[in-house]
Amino acid sequence: MEAVIEKLEEAMANGERELRSVGDAKQLEAWRIRYLGKKSVVMLALRELATLPLEERRRVGARANEVKAALEAQWKQKLDALKEAELAAFVAAESLDVSLPGHPVSLGRLHPTTQTLREVCQVFTGMGFEVVEGPEVEWEYYNFEALNIPRNHPARDMWATLWVDYVDEKGEQRMLLRTHTSPMQIRVMEKRHPPVRVVVPGKVYRYEATDATHEWMFYQIEGLAIDTNITLADLKGTLFEFARRLFGAERKARFRCDYFPFVEPGVEMAVDCFVCKGEGCRLCGNTGWIEILGAGMVHPDVLRRMGCDPAVYSGFAFGMGIERIPMLRYGIDDIRHFYGNDLRFLRQFRG
């Protein structure tokens, strides 16, 4: 019996010593077979326990199990250490030049006008406005007459017009490229009854020589709200919120009286200059303010033409150019870039 115990102690001591010099997985496996395999001292001792008398069985068994557990624990520890070292070596060997450029992914981008229109529409849909669109080729009636701008009205100078070469059989209707999105005020109300809240984005056209700040085709967005109790204060609230969301809370907005034949009272909204913050500079023509939109309460004559009794209903309308917004925000120096479509320009707008 003592001999068995002695053998176990010896295996324990040898095992521990040999394990220290094990350097790789292969050696470790050989070690495991030698000290923990079927024919190892420990396993043999355990297997032969049954042949021993009870008293010895207990002592030898207890010791054999202790030795086995100790060796196993050391084996596990060694195994983990080896894996760790292997991983460290692998990691150390497989480093990359991370400064190499990534494989390019084709990045498409929306046109800056689309980006701006979406942003603007989002602000207004958030306030309950519906987005609708209308024709760009219009009858003179919708573009002018229905908006209180009859032929030979001096206000027609405000909208230099591109006329379509079209002869109506009766010679009454003249066709044109809409000079503003306002004709949609009339069209929208041909199909709807108050309460109405719409915004109308779209292209408009002017007969105009182009320069850095003038383009003959550009985008506008029109707004119209008609209900029983719409007020100038509501118009202010709506447009101030718009200005705050688009230009930031620190921007100041100014309302002043202005004239558009289809609104009364008429309004012009300006924001304080982005560059000089109101001090006066070239961008704002030394006024400190930049006009961004025209607006007002829908003119009673226009309301009547919409089929709304001005004694019952009131409404506001506004219209603004779209390109001006990114031009102001990003300091774009020339409006002609927008529809010149040079990729070197378009790609700068990440949105």
Binding site: G108, M127, E130, N152, M158, L162, Y259, N341
Partner: protein
């Protein structure tokens, strides 16, 4: 409109500093575009008087001038020709900032030694002071100029450059602006005096007026001033005209301009003796009639123009410009002064037809009140008599066939508040309106009857009165609220949503969105065809195109997009662009159909250049991949059918068919078309018509539960005739049960397969929603599949 504050002070006290006044006027609707300070830089310039002029000892053309400045006097060297002892002049001391008469630059005056004489100061010309461009001689001040006073106090002024909106012709006058200032600052207006002495001769004995067409000339007033002496107008008048941007001419013409600026009523002075039969006839022109206008240009007239004629011929185009023959000249001794009212639309049309826009026509076309001619005529008559030594005949001629009474406007209590969203007491409303010259009277406890002053032709109904109240209170005083009513319900527009989704999908596919001009040239449209024929219907043309490049409304997105591609190919290896926009298809007797379309073009490298990937040119399947991505994301069940499109290359073109309709086309742009646009080929193109695509778009998602049972994957390779389309293989394979997915992974033609054949290798995924598939089941299906491929397509299973 340029308004001098010095002039404005004749009628009202500005009270506020100029910047504040400008701010108030701007908010109230009269935008001050610029504030110009005359004399802002005159820090060391004073009124002086010439005491002595002596020759310069060393120069013939220079003089030594001694100038008294009150407490002191100074002697300087001066070369001006108009140096007279006793004249009042502007004297600049050393350090004054003056404009150099030759270079135009501003510089501080330095002491100078001129031909041996030290000169510390300078007698100034108008140009040196920035008053005008005149530099021929020194500026001579009026005799009443107080010697020693800083020039700024005597001559300095502030000019407002005011943007007057077209509904406010009254604002095109100093008095009109004065009325605004008075209302904004709570004071009254001092009207100019119009009294003058008349001669014994009744004006009716000197001239007569006949209006043939009263519709076009509601009123014509005239006076006659005899014994005038034509000379320059007084200095103060010239100064004011210059400040307003007008050129002084003579004492009669200057008065007509002065009163136009003062009252807003254009006037015209005729040389009375040149009027045949001493008669004025207002009539339409005869077709072919001509007149030589004041500017010396002969102008052809027609029946749609109104003329002022004497007993023989036309002497002026009414409301637009006078004639040369009857112009007031140095020899004029009597003047007939016209102050009339003309139909605004008619004047506008006439001036547009003649291409002649004058200060007069600009005012008439905005609609002037018929009450205005009389006070303006009296004022002008007074000033002419005063400045030219003439005497007015007694009375005025006043032919007034177009008299109209204006009805008062009812303004109900609460109407102001209802539109503005703020409570304005009736008393405040009344006070504001009265300050602007309106007469208010309570006709009932809840109703005010408001009479509009004649000069406010723009005010016609109660909303106009509300604006008056709002702008005088100030829009900044109106509260800021949100719309209180519930949000109206609506359905989003499906086309709008489709456009936005298309844009998002194409951007996700790596394409850049562009927006191109809607107008193009016929040539550009034709360039999209190899034979340069016109594609589609004849497009709508502009009647007044700005250029040939912008003459026609596009019927296709292709031309501008191909141009844009070609332009960008100069800088870019890989160009992939798309546009979602409208084409304009003419319809008889109606506005064109504005059809929404999508067009995408692909040129150059398939991918951007990279250090790993091999460079490959873009090909048809790049474009098709995008088309498939679009259709997949929209849930459109579409097929690609070999198609024909004259602009695309035959054999490399597919119609995109969905719901039995052609919703689009895909293909390689015809090489000649590529050449027409000077692009670098090959170029591929994808086009869709949104009206046709829209009905095929799946709304929502039909959810299918995930199969709990494993899939079996088999790869199959078959050899078929090269002409067999993959689509027929795909359709056949998909027709078998249990097939859940088919993916083509190789197409091969070459040494490994017989001549004229190709190998297609694809992966088939089998899966059942109800059970785990056994090998036997899958083998059975696959066996039948292989047989069917052989029977129907002659496919042979590859080794």
């Amino acid at each position: 409109m340029r308004v001098s504050l010095n002039w404005l002070r004749d009628y009202v006290d500005p009270v506020l500093p100029p910047e504040d006044l400008a701010h108030r006027l701007t908010l109230a609707g009269f935008e001050i575009k610029a504030i110009e300070v005359v004399g802002g830089a005159w820090d060391r310039v004073q009124v002086g008087q010439i005491r002595e002029v002596k020759p310069h000892p060393n120069a013939d053309r220079l003089r030594l001038v001694t100038v008294s400045l009150g407490e002191r006097s100074q002697t300087v060297v001066c070369g001006a020709p108009n140096l007279n002892v006793g004249d009042k002049i502007a004297f600049a001391s050393v350090g004054a900032r003056l404009i150099d008469g030759h270079s135009g630059e501003v510089a501080a005056l330095k002491p100078a030694k001129i031909r041996g004489v030290v000169s510390e100061g300078m007698v100034c010309s108008e140009k040196e002071l920035g008053i005008s461009d005149s530099h021929e001689g020194i500026m001579v001040l009026p005799g009443d100029a107080p010697v020693g006073t800083p020039l700024r106090d005597y001559l300095g002024d502030t000019i407002f450059d005011i943007e007057v909106s077209p509904n406010r012709p009254d604002g095109l006058s100093v008095l009109g602006i004065g009325r605004e200032v008075a209302a904004l600052t709570g004071q009254g207006v001092r009207m100019p005096g119009v009294a003058y002495a008349e001669s014994e001769t009744p004006v009716a004995s000197l001239a007569s007026v006949e209006i043939v067409d009263p519709e076009l000339c509601p009123r014509y007033c005239a006076s006659v001033i005899e014994g005038v002496r034509i000379a320059p107008s007084p200095e103060w008048m010239q100064r004011r005209l210059k400040a307003a941007g007008m050129r002084p001419i003579n004492n009669v013409v200057d008065v007509t301009n002065y009163v136009m600026l003062e009252y807003g009523q254009p006037l015209h002075a005729f040389d009375y003796r040149r009027l045949a039969e001493r008669k004025i006839i207002v009539r339409r022109a005869r077709d072919g009639e001509v007149i030589v206008s004041l500017d010396g240009v002969e102008r052809g007239l027609n029946h749609d123009m109104l003329l002022i004629c004497d007993g023989r011929e036309a002497v002026a185009v009414a409301g637009v410009m006078g004639g040369l023959d009857s112009e007031v000249s140095d020899v004029t001794v009597s003047v007939l002064l016209e102050s009339a009212n003309f139909n605004q639309a008619f004047i506008r049309r006439t001036s547009a037809t003649l291409g002649l826009r004058s200060e007069a026509s600009l005012r008439f076309e905005k609609g002037l009140p018929a009450e205005l001619p009389v006070p303006a005529l009296r004022r002008a008559t007074q000033l002419i008599a005063e400045t030219s030594g003439g005497k007015a005949a007694s009375g005025i001629i006043d032919v007034y066939p177009g008299r109209r009474e204006r009805q008062p406007i009812s303004l109900f209590n609460g109407e102001v508040g209802r539109l503005l969203g703020m409570d304005v007491p009736v008393e405040r409303t009344r006070q504001i309106l009265e300050s602007l010259g309106f007469d208010c009277e309570m006709s009932a406890p809840s109703e005010m009857r408001v009479s509009v002053p004649y000069w406010r032709s723009d005010v016609g109904q109660s909303a106009d009165l509300v604006e008056e109240v709002a702008r005088i209170i100030g829009y900044d005083q109106v509260p800021t609220t949100v719309i209180a009513a519930p949000i109206p319900s609506y359905e989003p527009s499906p086309v709008l949503l489709l456009k936005e989704r298309l844009r998002d999908i194409l951007v996700a596919c790596g394409l850049q969105e562009v927006i191109t001009y809607s107008l193009t040239s016929l040539e550009n449209l034709k360039r999209t065809m190899p034979d340069l024929s016109l594609p589609g219907p004849m497009p709508l043309r502009m009647a007044n195109p700005m250029s040939r490049e912008q003459e026609y409304l596009r019927t296709s997105l292709r031309p501008r997009l191909l141009l844009t591609l070609a332009q960008n190919q100069r800088y870019e290896d890989s160009v992939k662009l798309f546009e979602v926009g409208r084409v304009y298809l003419p319809r008889s007797g109606d506005l064109p159909q504005e059809a929404e379309a999508l067009c995408a073009v692909f040129g150059g490298a398939s991918q951007e250049r990279s250090w790993r990937a091999k460079e490959a040119p873009v090909d048809l399947f790049d474009a098709k991949g995008v088309a498939e991505a679009v259709l997949e994301r929209l849930g459109v069940d579409a097929s690609f059918v070999p198609g024909e499109d004259a602009g695309l290359r035959r054999g490399r073109c597919a119609d995109i068919v969905a719901g039995g309709e052609r919703v689009g086309v895909l293909g390689e742009v015809h090489p000649r078309v590529v050449e027409n646009f000077e692009a670098t080929g090959p170029v591929y193109l994808l086009e869709m018509e949104l009206d046709r695509l829209l009905p095929c778009v799946s709304t929502g998602v039909r959810y299918r539960p995930l199969s709990r049972f494993p899939a079996t994957v088999r790869d199959i390779a078959v050899v078929v005739e090269a002409g067999v389309r993959f689509q027929s293989v795909l359709d056949l394979v998909r027709g078998f049960p249990l097939v859940s997915q088919v993916t083509l992974f190789d197409v091969y033609q070459g040494d490994q397969v017989p001549q004229g054949k190709k190998s297609l290798a694809f992966r088939v995924v089998y899966q059942s929603p109800t059970h785990t598939l056994t090998d036997e089941e899958v083998n059975g299906v696959q066996q039948r599949m292989i047989e069917a491929l052989k029977d129907k397509l002659g496919a042979v299973l590859r080794g």
